[in-house]
């Protein structure tokens, strides 16, 4: 199946710092792919690069087969109707000086799907679909709770009928009971509008249950990919193992036992230039890991990993 969105050999550098290094990543239509990793691993940068909100320093980004980096600004803006974004903090991502009605009508108007006047019924319909009172269009973002604001931000992302939605930590600013409600809403919208989600998260238990595929990032590189059930059961990268070992367990006895036995993970320090970025913290590091970065290779059906442990027998 042809990829809906695809990054090939993408690197992003800010000043002298590499945020992404030679990343290949593809999403098929209808999929939910999660990107996980610690802060600074490049997962948000990759999400923004897929939408060309962050132009890559090198490499190509395709959407529906079309090279976005080659498009003129105006054409790129027209494509944005089909690829949208959701942000972590719905208060920061909504314009505090625009009413809800204007915020939601805006995608329709800028893409020529409606005028400010004719957008009204569709805005009301959308509000009802995300579980809000359709009569709130003249109110401002600060008049809503965090969960309601995230519903507004979601409505804005899907109202123009996109194919792809990149959701950057859409739950982490929300209370646990609200998170569940928003996940239900995202699932319902996906079913109704045949959406493709790229779900950027650090919450492994959530990812385990919503994603069809998970991509693990570290130091601006892709280090493991596969179905979450398999990746989380038998992680092929020591970094994925470390992430899993850090997931809090809501069981007092188990949590205590693990805290007493688990070895402390050394603090993250920069790795040598060509080394695997996990070398300073890796319990299984070998000399080769400091000498060269392992390539991302197929290790089983639907599974890929970038670790020398899978390549060279000890």
């Amino acid at each position: 199946m042809a990829a809906l969105s695809e990054a090939s050999g993408v690197s992003v550098r800010y000043g002298g710092v590499a945020a992404l290094t030679d990343v290949d990543f593809a999403v098929s239509a209808g999929e939910t792919v999660a990107i996980i990793g610690e802060s600074g691993c490049g997962k948000s940068t990759l999400g923004r690069t897929l939408l060309l909100l962050q132009p890559p320093t090198s490499g190509t980004v395709r959407f529906r087969g079309e090279d976005l980096t080659a498009l003129p600004a105006r054409a790129l803006r027209q494509r944005r109707r089909f690829m949208q974004m959701m942000f972590q903090d719905p208060y920061a991502s909504l314009n505090a000086r625009m009413t809800i009605g204007e915020t939601l009508a805006e995608p329709l108007v800028v893409h020529g799907l409606a005028t400010w006047r004719t957008a009204r019924p569709r805005v009301a319909q959308m509000l009802a679909r995300v579980g809000l009172d359709p009569g709130v269009t003249s109110r401002y973002p600060h008049e809503f709770s965090g969960g309601q604001r995230q519903r507004i931000a979601i409505a804005r992302a899907v109202i123009a009928g996109p194919d792809l939605v990149v959701a950057d930590e859409p739950l982490s600013a929300l209370d646990i009971t609200v998170q569940g409600q928003i996940l239900d809403l995202l699932a319902a919208l996906q079913a109704a509008q045949n959406l493709t989600y790229v779900f950027i998260s650090h919450d492994l238990p959530v990812v385990r249950h919503i994603a069809g595929r998970v991509a693990v990032m570290l130091g601006g590189r892709m280090v493991e990919q596969g179905p979450p059930a398999e990746v989380f059961a038998t992680p092929a990268h020591p970094y994925t193992q470390a992430l899993l070992a850090a997931v809090p367990i809501p069981d007092p006895a188990l949590a205590r036992a693990r805290m007493a036995t688990a070895a402390a993970l050394p603090a993250a320090t920069p790795a040598p230039p060509n080394a695997c970025p996990f070398v300073p913290r890796c319990p299984a590091a070998r000399p080769i890991c400091t000498e060269s970065m392992p390539p991302l290779r197929d290790i089983a059906a639907h599974r890929r990993a970038a670790c020398w442990l899978n390549e060279v027998p000890a």
Binding site: R256, A262, A264
Partner: protein, 321 residues
């Protein structure tokens, strides 16, 4: 009986028309770790701010009992209160970047607490500060003391803030969501660190959080708040294994778990805190709602736990509300 560090009974906190806390009870004994858990708007933050009298000036506070180290917090004169904060009860915050002064080195900030509360000479304070950094797992303390907060990573800053909090050798450590902004890997290390320090020093720990999973391994007792009221409190093992209050049950069930399901969704939202409610505040969202819930339930004893729910009524005798 062990020494009581913090004792709050029937605390009410109001901001204008909003009732943030309505009748909360909480106590922490020496060497005990208590988890105060609730979602936003539960009143957990207002409760701990009132406990240190750090609440904003427009808050109106009343309590039948509010003591810190045996002192009545609400009537204590300012200088004595200031000595109590930092020396007796220290606090660590969610965001160390706003809690630390960006213009002073880490060493200066820790040494300041030491000279103020422990009357150490500058040289002794410096030595002590280095020792504290080592205790919180910061390597190369001599170099780190001369650095500014922005030169520390998020996890390291949080460690430095813990060191500054420990400098006054407090009997009670209040941690207000200290790991929320951090990566899970760093979070796990910090939780382990704080739990270890608490045991070593025999401190009381009040761990304020919205994360039921994270605190499971470090607290002895849990207090669950919702809409300004305590719903349930009890020993950690009993509360996780056998939660009594429908809200506690819903909260635990809503947690997604790696090994189990995605979690059940609790519909609806918390009540409007500006409107007085006569019945149980959780009743509108409760799956076990009964006619009796039109009346607010008192705290019932149920085993070692206390539960504010009519479901617990037949099982236990009523305790003083």
């Amino acid at each position: 009986m062990t020494e009581t560090l913090l004792d709050i009974a029937n605390l009410h906190v109001r901001f204008g028309a909003t009732t943030a806390v309505a009748g909360a009870c909480l106590h922490v004994s020496k060497g005990e770790a208590v988890g105060l858990v609730g979602e936003s708007g539960s009143g957990k933050s207002a409760t701990i701010l009132a406990a240190l009298r750090l609440h904003p000036p427009n808050a109106r506070i009343s309590a039948t009992h509010l003591t810190l180290g045996g002192h009545d917090v609400l009537t204590l004169p300012q200088p004595a209160l200031r000595r109590l904060r930092g020396r007796f009860a220290a606090m660590i915050f969610q965001d160390p970047l706003t809690a630390l002064n960006p213009l002073l080195t880490i060493g200066t900030q820790i040494a300041e607490v030491l000279t103020r509360h422990r009357a150490l000479s500058p040289a002794d304070a410096r030595r002590q500060a280095a020792a504290l950094l080592t205790q919180v797992g910061i390597t190369d303390p001599a170099r780190r003391l001369a650095q500014y907060p922005h030169e520390f990573s998020g996890g390291m800053r949080q460690r430095a803030m813990i060191a500054a909090a420990l400098a006054g050798d407090p009997a009670l450590l209040i941690a207000d969501e200290p790991t929320t902004a951090l990566d899970v890997t760093v979070q796990a290390e910090l939780v382990r660190l704080i739990a270890g320090l608490q045991r070593q020093r025999g401190m009381g720990l009040l761990w304020v959080t919205h994360d039921l999973a994270l605190m499971a391994g470090i607290v002895d007792r849990v207090v669950v708040m919702y809409a300004g009221r305590v719903m349930e409190s009890g020993p950690v093992a009993a509360l996780y294994a056998n939660p009594r209050h429908p809200y506690t049950i819903a909260l635990l069930e809503s947690l997604p778990r790696l090994d189990q399901g995605r979690g059940r969704v609790l519909a609806g939202g918390p009540p409007d805190l500006t409107r007085p409610t006569s019945g149980c505040v959780f009743a509108p969202r409760c799956s076990a709602r009964m006619p009796r819930c039109m009346q607010a339930p008192p705290m019932f004893a149920a085993g070692d736990s206390h539960v504010a729910c009519w479901l617990a009524a037949p099982a236990g005798a009523e305790v003083a509300a």
